[in-house]
Symmetry: C2
Subunit: 461 residues, 2 copies
């Protein structure tokens, strides 16, 4: 008699279904957790959430329910199974309610439950990562995280890209991308006697490894965790985070920027379509501009501008920068990047052709001998969102560049050899997944978009 349904199914029928479909729902069984419970002594209301949908179902129970006095006492957080009659209430505050016929307590919630009705600070909630997914902001962000992950996979797989699990433990030395964690089974740093017979680290990037796969499959991507052992306590740095690193063969910087633009637009659109309730929540509670901002980006043509042009524009700017020593060769700060995309372009813009001295060794040297075929995507509200480049495919040029930078080349001989064995022009980029999530939602701290964030001196569970 009672048909099991999820709250998502009920909302989807009520918000999108026909009258025939709505009328066909009669008696339903729901399972979920109490968000709030209040009773007048004669009639009570429970807001139930079952994990499938952002919004709750309202349960109404009255004093003719046999366990009325017990049900009144169910605390926030308790797990329930409910049988009830579905009532369509299109004029009401919620579009339907469930009149409770039977109710069963699956799991009570102790009185020291930290998530009471009052609003908690994000700082407080970071201490209870096992419980915070039940708090609205985290309930929204972690579903968005899942939706965005699927957007990434669909975008690349639909175009025939091959997903590569590049290794987490690596024997390569850091490629200048930052400090690394050591992976060991010893306590004495005797790495020759260690598990792998040599020093091992956690990866800082899958790019070098995935380039090898681009030379077999043409279009490939990684999507996995990467690590930095940097002692930075900022709102944008975590020690463990996920990155997307596509690599495309027979492709140059222009192809790379086209791909980045397509991907960013696809992801925005996918999240707006597949997490509309979550996005509305972020707009209401976290960042009033977030939907407008990303919708505008989705509908914009991304501009392109060289680094050198950008420097000229910054020199002419009539604003005061904190760092106002603008000169060619400098690394741009967030304030400069935001000025360029927010004030000059008023939309997303790729900066290209950066000075080689501020970019990585593997980026392709331009004919001027001073710049490399790199691009950073700058977006309003954030600054840099994606960094990419065409890779140096010329063996001799790459070798000279590595020598110039004082790099030890023996451990990267395999990488250089890709240039000797049927190498071709190729390009790729890196997207910090967690920062993309911050960008979409307006969440301000990377600690609040990762399920169990890892930062210096902070490892909860």
């Amino acid at each position: 008699m009672f048909e099991f349904m999820t709250i998502r199914e009920l909302y989807e029928i009520v918000l999108g279904g026909s009258h025939v479909e709505i009328d066909s729902i009669e008696y339903v069984q729901l399972q979920g957790w109490v968000r709030t419970n209040r009773s007048s002594g004669k009639i009570g209301f429970i807001e139930l959430n079952d994990g499938t949908y952002f919004r709750n179902a309202q349960l109404v129970y009255s004093s003719d329910l046999k366990d009325f006095n017990e049900v009144e006492k169910y605390t926030t957080g308790s797990a329930l199974t409910v049988m009830g009659k579905f009532v369509y209430t299109p004029q009401g505050k919620q579009p339907f309610e469930i009149q409770v016929k039977e109710i069963e307590l699956e799991g009570a919630c102790d009185h020291d439950y930290p998530l009471q009705k009052k609003r908690h600070s994000f700082e407080f909630l970071r201490e209870i990562p096992h419980l915070r997914p039940r708090a609205n902001s985290f309930y929204a962000i972690f579903r968005l995280r899942s939706v965005l992950s699927m957007a990434i996979h669909e975008f690349f797989q639909n175009q025939g890209f091959v997903y590569v699990h590049t290794p987490i433990i690596t024997g390569n030395d850091a490629e200048g991308a930052g400090e690394t964690f050591t992976v060991t089974t010893r306590e004495d740093a005797n790495y020759e006697e260690d598990f792998f017979g040599k020093h091992a680290s956690l990866t800082v990037s899958g790019q070098l490894h995935v380039e090898a796969f681009a030379m077999a499959f043409r279009d490939v991507y990684t999507f996995g965790p990467t690590f930095r052992a940097e002692n930075s306590n900022t709102t944008r740095h975590a020690s463990e985070f996920w990155m997307i690193e596509p690599e495309i063969a027979f492709a140059d910087l222009e192809d790379d920027m086209d791909l980045i633009e397509d991907m960013v637009k696809y992801c925005i659109n996918y999240c707006l379509e597949n997490a509309p309730e979550e996005m509305k929540f972020f707009e209401r509670m976290i960042d009033k501009e977030c939907i407008a901002r990303i919708t505008k980006v989705r509908d914009s043509e991304f501009k392109r501008m060289t680094y050198s042009e950008a420097i000229e524009l910054l020199k002419q700017a009539d604003v005061k920068f904190e760092n106002d020593q603008i000169e060619w060769g400098m690394d741009l700060q967030s304030e400069h990047e935001r000025y360029l995309c927010e004030k000059v372009v008023n939309g997303p813009v790729f900066l290209t052709d950066y000075p080689k001295d501020i970019k990585a060794f593997y980026m392709r040297l331009n004919d001027d001998g001073k710049t490399v075929a790199a691009c950073d995507l700058l977006v309003p509200g954030v600054g840099e969102l994606v960094g990419g480049s065409q890779r140096e495919e010329r063996y001799e040029v790459l070798a000279a560049r590595m020598q110039e930078m004082g790099m030890e080349s023996e451990s990267l001989q395999w990488y250089m050899d890709l240039r000797r064995y049927g190498g071709c022009k190729h390009a790729g980029f890196g997207l910090g997944f967690d920062r993309m999530l911050m960008y979409l939602s307006g969440m301000q701290n990377i600690r609040d978009v990762e399920p169990f964030a890892r930062t210096p001196k902070n490892l909860v569970f």
Copy 2:
């Protein structure tokens, strides 16, 4: 005039398109790598692979090509751009060929290229993980790896499961699942002064963390790398491998087995449909039975049998086991598992309700006090493929079990607390992704299904 096309696009039109579509292809541009090149001095043939499809395109070039003498010398592995005329050859060995009009060498391949035409041993190829994706077996397995990854994501996302990135670096002590790697920035094992201010390890499983998310989202899954610092040099053990760990709330062991069965069948079907050329290659070159075996599993009803029943059947078996001390309480070996699914059931079978002493602390104690609500899925040809269980949701029972096993409970208090704060019955399982890939393809060594395999004393790049 020359339209850029991939070799996949050409095959898809030729094998599945209408005559109108086939006739519409005239002059095409291809880019790819030389698999073989042979010439009679008057006419030459290049097998070109472009990374998009398992099969090659045959290029035909004749002595009226202006660079004929150069093209003759292009070595295996070289990268090319080719302009040519498409010729449909339905009677030929290959369904089409490309008559070369122009050809350009994108990247030559040095003469010490290790992948010459002769067949190489898998052992040899393991030493060159940056090049082996271009060898047929690896070209097939790494595309299948990507296809299977997408099968997993689609299966769970289509049913509303939330994908959770459980942490790689963990502060939990190993939960009895095996030896762990230490993650550190120090050389003196002074973990209090270490990066996180305490001892940190690489995760052995995301299950405990993902359970917390099941209590918010009902149905969740992880899919990410896990690690074991075990000194096992077998064909089935790697130090780094990917696991899928779903967790479902308001669910018992029966629900769990239903989900496992659905997932395995979905993945098999998805791979047969989306990697047909690769599967045909495995059938031809690696394991003659592989397609028949998995097709049969896809079309079977999975049987269910208790561990106790299995022990009785093993006692009555008229075969000689290497370990023939069959008694209740023993851990089954692969030979026993294979006997049960291959000889007794002749198909996939779940064993359920194992003795608690050979299973993990978090599995739900049955009413007999001796067994737990666990299940292992056994399949012909391999033995165990998936392990799952209903989790212990009763705080006091869990606490007693942990004490009985001498477990330190302080660091797992958060996990126990999930039972005090609206816990409910729930279940989940673990699927070793790499082993599933071995099972589908018939590949016999886990080192040959991972892009860059990590095993004791072995860390190439």
